[in-house]
Symmetry: C2
Subunit: 252 residues, 2 copies
Amino acid sequence: MAQTFLRKLRHGAHLTQENENVLIALTRPVRSLAAREDVSIEGEPRGHLTLIVEGWACHYTTLENGKRQIVSLYLPGDLCEPFGILPRFMTNAIAAITPVTIAQLRHDTMRRTAQASPRIEEALWWDLLTSFAIEREHLISLGRRTATERLGHLFCELHLRLENIGLVDDELSYDMPVTQADLGDLLGLSLVHVNRSLQELRATRLMSLRGRRLTIHNLRGLRELSLFDESYLQRVTSPSRHQPHAEIGEPA
Amino acid sequence: MAQTFLRKLRHGAHLTQENENVLIALTRPVRSLAAREDVSIEGEPRGHLTLIVEGWACHYTTLENGKRQIVSLYLPGDLCEPFGILPRFMTNAIAAITPVTIAQLRHDTMRRTAQASPRIEEALWWDLLTSFAIEREHLISLGRRTATERLGHLFCELHLRLENIGLVDDELSYDMPVTQADLGDLLGLSLVHVNRSLQELRATRLMSLRGRRLTIHNLRGLRELSLFDESYLQRVTSPSRHQPHAEIGEPA
DNA sequence: CGCGGGCATTTACTTATGATAATGACCGAG
DNA sequence: CTCGGTCATTATCATAAGTAAATGCCCGCG
């Protein structure tokens, strides 16, 4: 159930089997959502965090003039809110992109658990800081990358994030269910220009996108074109399980 | 020394006098930097956080093609790194905009302190999440606001952030030492276009900028024009000191 | 089988923004 | 005072991106 979450964490944290069991125990029952449905229950006190179990979702804002900006894309295994969240913080405007199933993690339990185990705490920090780094890189795209570069960069990022959780086939092909209109709202472009740039990108033969399937033909080439440097994703280890032993007393 | 930091925290957290003393005690000696100088000592193990005591700084990235994007602006009282940071995280590319003095907070001591006092922990979370919210709003600007709106929005934001720390005169005028070239790198615009848009903004008579002095003539008008909604800054309380009493056992 | 809806694709046109380069204003150092 | 540096301003030209609107494609549903 929270398997994908753990799988992702293994790329940046060292958790024992015991740690993982604790995290799994925190996971509360699952809820399903239709595509385009909003995740949040408006005004709910929100004593829990949202974990994407399956499907894609996003965090967005709508400005007064009606323009929409997607701030963040959430894949399976992603937490939609910071684990140290304060009660009133972060108005939720999270919407499902595909049909989605979510799980919920009780926030107070979560923090108690983090205090009790330095390893878990560190894993949660790694996850949080990584997701901030992703948003930051997104900001850089919007500020200083061209339309084509933005698209390419996104596809390179998704490639790694999906690979982390085993959703890439043959190391180069994955499902990309985001609509061109949504790509526009994500990358700060108009629908039409997304279409144009997508074609330009296909014309380079570095990648292709047909139906909902994205295939990378030349990873290095695509990364160069997109000014992509993977270091911001903070993948430190291969996804190996750590040998369980006693935890050290202090967070590193 | 850390007074500005505390002053800012009072807008979102409830600290006792005792709490504040503890935070002050954490603050390590101060260092000075010339304008344009980089803050970070490359490769240093970084066992501490950087606190801006005086002056303005920024966090930036330079892409392979030479383009530069400023990700975040740091004012007095701002922490340049998340308090729960992992050792290697967050490559530092922080530069002084004006002459700057910084202080350093020992990272391990910081976390121990947070664990010991729920109020301090909550204050630090408030600060961290607020600075993320600011970056997120910045992202929205880059994606969906026009050049003029971006500039206006920035000036509205600075107005509040500076007011929090008492750096606004008569509630409408403050020092704005950021160069037009830097504004471009911050807002994803070219130098020339910043200049153009600045004039357009002045022409509205909603605000003016001469020398390094920014004056807002019509706050409501400027906010409307910029699609500015202050709620993301999470100012909850007037800057009143909380009456000191025993802390509650659990973080809220 | 045919209709409607969601999504992708084009076309034609407008506009915001970028690139280059020259000029002016200001200011501190010698 | 004057030279050089930094920053602001202007002008000209080039282009990326937006807007509007029509068309095509696919697919599920009745």
